[in-house]
């Protein structure tokens, strides 16, 4: 293996930023108080959490009291969907899309198994949800519309602003999973009622995130207990995690104007370089995309072996191929954007981060043609050059 592995899987998770580690350190040692305690230890922990809450609220222009800390985006999605369902038992219909993260899809399916009706909206070939389709799907008993802000596999950005306006007109709460989009693209929080964020996609720690809950939206908690987070999420707060999440968000928003254009540049460079290889397709939209995610399919080869071959050359990436998934089915996102099954088999997701360098991108572009060629040489499907 190469001495310096190259990490191009930042949509799976990201390395902690130095500033984030530094911000968390005191809360692993001296500042160990429980934020619910009356004494000074407790008060200091409480203050740290409230400071974090305020700075996170500021990043999306909402009130601190509208931020609920969770264990990550999965929990935030579940709290938004099931929490709203439990609080409004008379509403039995949900609108979502076919390309949502499993945290949303499986929460919806869980409700479906309990008698709810779910409309899974189709997307176009780039992965975009049509706002008009949302409008048509909404019914009198619609509980919620949940459409992600940016897709974690192909990067496509959804028209959240437009969808939010439609929901507002119809008086239906709108949730968006911003697990990948937060800190990368503008999120019109004014058009959204519920929004999920995860710290570890943002150079923050794993196991922490938040749900923005617009004032006036009523949720039932998923966890019963001591009544933390205004009763919405019981359990002693993960103080170092919450502090780290806020530090990561501050960092992401403060350097967004330099980092995002750089990642966009990498994305263009990757597309140009990879598309020179014969038998390649770009999955997703070339323009309307998150800056850090790009997804390709290579004809004639299988994604898991591609990822393993790249790993041997020191490059970490991921795939949506059937062979790489526990149920041996290709990625639901690739299927939804109608990538032919054979091409879904050879998918590769590259995702960059703030620490990615141009040299790393170029190194990947140097390595990929030979890896593809090697695997094609042992494939029965020959691709014309």
């Amino acid at each position: 293996m190469d001495p310096d592995p190259i990490y191009l899987d930042n949509s799976a998770t990201t390395p902690l930023a130095g500033e984030v580690i530094a911000s968390m350190e005191p809360y692993f040692s001296d500042e160990y108080g429980n934020a619910s305690s009356l004494h000074r230890f407790g008060r200091r922990a409480h203050a740290a959490i409230e400071e974090a809450r305020a700075s996170l609220a500021e990043t999306i222009g909402v009130e601190p009291s509208e931020i609920v800390f969770t264990s990550g985006a999965t929990e935030a999605d579940n709290l938004a969907i099931k929490g709203l369902a439990f609080a409004h038992p008379e509403k039995r219909h949900i609108v979502t899309s076919r390309i949502e993260h499993h945290a949303v899809l499986h929460a919806c399916r869980w409700l479906e198994e309990r008698g709810y009706e779910v409309t899974y909206l189709d997307v176009d070939r780039a992965g975009r949800v049509e706002p008009e389709a949302v409008k048509e799907a909404i019914r009198d008993d619609t509980l919620l519309v949940s459409i992600m802000a940016g897709n974690n596999e192909i990067g496509t950005i959804e028209p959240i602003g437009e969808i939010g306006e439609i929901c507002k007109e119809r008086g239906v709460p709108f949730h968006t999973d911003a697990g990948q989009a937060y800190g990368k693209v503008d999120i019109p929080a004014g058009s959204v009622d519920l929004l999920s964020v995860s710290a570890h996609k943002l150079n923050g720690p794993k196991g922490v995130g938040f749900l923005y809950v617009r004032k006036g939206i009523r949720l039932s908690p998923l966890l019963s207990g001591g009544g933390h987070e205004r009763g919405l999420r019981s359990g002693t707060e993960n103080v170092p995690g919450i502090v780290g999440l806020a530090a990561a968000a501050r960092l992401a928003f403060s350097e967004r104007e330099t980092v995002v254009p750089r990642l966009r540049g990498f994305r263009e460079r990757l597309i140009e370089g990879v598309m020179r290889i014969p038998g390649v397709r770009l999955n997703g939209d070339r323009k309307e995309s998150l800056p850090h995610i790009v997804n390709f399919s290579f004809a004639g080869i299988e994604g898991e072996s591609l990822v393993m071959r790249l790993d041997e050359r020191g490059i970490a990436a991921s795939t949506g191929s059937a062979c790489s998934s526990p149920n041996l089915e290709p990625s639901h996102v690739l299927v939804a954007i109608r990538v032919p099954l054979s091409m879904a088999h050879g998918s590769l997701r590259i995702s960059t981060g703030r620490q990615t360098t141009e040299e790393e991108v170029d190194r990947f572009l140097e390595v990929i043609p030979s890896v593809v060629e090697e695997l094609r040489a042992i494939s029965p499907f020959k691709v014309e050059g």
Binding site: I301, S342, H345, A377, S379, P380, F381, V383
Partner: protein, 162 residues
């Protein structure tokens, strides 16, 4: 997903890969579980005692790490074997020679054993020979699966022009 060292080693340095020049028969199989495809080429010759042996073997595989490693392993196991010996090679043999496979990947080793059987079936059929019932039954199942896969890959096969 944990692969054994042996799997990784065969994946890294696959043996007998590519298309075989002057092969006697080819077994073409596909697996509808995930959509992998393997073509196995054999060359059959008589040895000094007049027994038919697999004197050379090679393969082409479209599949995961395990599929590539099992292709490589089955080719090693079958090389130099008589036909009855080769027919007796099971997917369990292939998997255990590799130090085991993750449960979800056992079907990849089945593909390798199937491809070998299918190549032998094609060889016997091509030479107008009697075909053992095991091979015949297996052939019928494999043929049905391959049809489904060709359906699935039709667009691709056209696109790729192969």
């Amino acid at each position: 997903m944990m692969y054994t060292e042996k799997v990784i080693e065969h994946f890294r340095n696959p043996r007998n890969m590519g298309k075989l020049e002057g092969y006697s028969a080819v077994g073409k199989v596909g697996n509808i579980v995930c959509g992998d495809v393997m073509w196995l080429y054999i060359k059959v010759e008589e040895d000094a005692e007049g027994r038919e042996v697999i004197s050379d073997i090679s393969w082409e595989t479209f599949g995961c790490t395990a599929a590539i490693a099992t292709s490589s392993m089955v080719s090693e196991l079958a090389k130099g074997k008589t036909l009855p010996e080769a027919i007796a090679i099971t997917n369990q043999d292939v998997a255990s020679e590799l130090g085991g496979l993750p449960p979800v990947k056992m079907h990849c080793s089945a593909l390798a054993a199937d491809a070998l059987n299918e190549a032998i079936y094609e060889y016997l059929k091509g030479h107008g020979r009697e075909i053992p019932p095991v091979l015949k039954r297996r052939h019928e199942r494999l043929e049905a699966e391959m049809k489904k896969l060709e359906e699935r890959y039709r667009a691709f096969l056209e696109e790729a022009g192969s």
